[in-house]
Symmetry: C2
Subunit: 202 residues, 2 copies
């Protein structure tokens, strides 16, 4: 059984979080999910729904897996030392670190991605990647794997990345079965990214 810390902050993007949670949570007892925030107060998504919090960042950083969603407010979280210190400690110990959209930029703001290849959402790419100046940002990718780091493009891309992470952890068949069970058309090719072109990045 692996422990998964899911970081949330006010205004997190709804599907950034819950798309990957459907995939990672669907594996059942193999992954134990803990919702982590700065305090134990419920945290509202950008669309206003309140999510209960299991643990705070002060409760420790000993998890096998780390997941960070995006949202415009991810950049605000990146200025919060209690959160960034926890990310650095948790990412340091974790065997796999997963981000979606501007969650990649939040991770980059901690310095943890320095020297790594990574990607983030395409519409805000030019405006946000300077916040991680020592990251090797990939302009066209659904998601990028660099060692233990799985960073993905905007919102929906998190589901494709999460399935790739499941494949890494439990094998390709498990990921295929999860996509089938959720009637999801998995974009298995990490290089598939029509949104990069639409955003004028390539």
């Amino acid at each position: 059984m692996k422990t998964l810390a899911v970081l949330v902050f006010p205004g997190f993007q709804t599907l950034d979080l819950f798309g990957p949670l459907e995939m990672l949570g669907g594996i059942g007892d193999e992954i134990k999910i803990t919702i982590v925030a700065e305090t134990l107060e419920p945290v509202a998504s950008v669309h206003g729904q309140g999510l209960l919090v299991d643990k705070t960042v002060a409760d420790g950083s000993d998890y096998d897996l780390l997941f960070i969603p995006g949202g415009d407010t991810a950049l605000v979280a990146g200025e919060n030392k209690a959160i960034t210190d926890w990310i650095v400690a948790t990412a340091g110990r974790a065997e796999l670190v997963m981000t979606v959209c501007t969650g990649s930029v939040l991770l980059a703001m901690t310095g943890v991605l320095d020297g790594r290849k990574a990607t983030t959402n395409k519409q805000d790419f030019i405006q946000t990647v300077p916040l991680g100046p020592r990251v090797d940002w990939v302009r066209q990718a659904r998601w990028v794997e660099d060692g233990k780091f799985f960073t993905s493009s905007g919102v929906s891309a998190g589901m494709d990345m999460a399935l790739a992470a499941l494949a890494r952890l439990f094998g390709k068949q498990v990921a295929d079965d999860m996509a089938h069970g959720t009637e999801y058309e998995w974009h298995e090719d990490a290089a598939w990214d029509p949104f990069a072109k639409r955003a004028g990045l390539v």
Copy 2:
């Protein structure tokens, strides 16, 4: 501004709910989301995350739009008279009624879909559609529109259906922009459904 009632019950399927909420909520002030449950206690998804509840079924049924997610426990909710009475009243008034996966079966259990075309998830299709014996169940469809009823296939299909509902409400361009903004490859063809074949339904 349109009011949207989102019914939740213990064990609802995570992506069934939050995929469509990303699309419908992304429209901003045009849609006001209210999470409705039997009581005001937080409701846990099948993956264990607790969601805050805004209103109970006793608080009224006057909403413009109704959305019902699925989950194995949707069939339990279909035996709960407080919930089914509320569904009948709310669906009767609403201008649009949307369901995902076994949420379609829950709606069918109330009788509201009698004589209508509808679809549900494909893996459990044969086992669950007898619970709505007077519904014209469609074996191969990503989603089905019949008048004000938008019913969709399993889990991920809810996102495609929600975009179609946005197109109905606000025009095709709005739905296209939402798919683009969330980097989602919208399956615009309601007949696209490879999962029906995989499940042996066609």
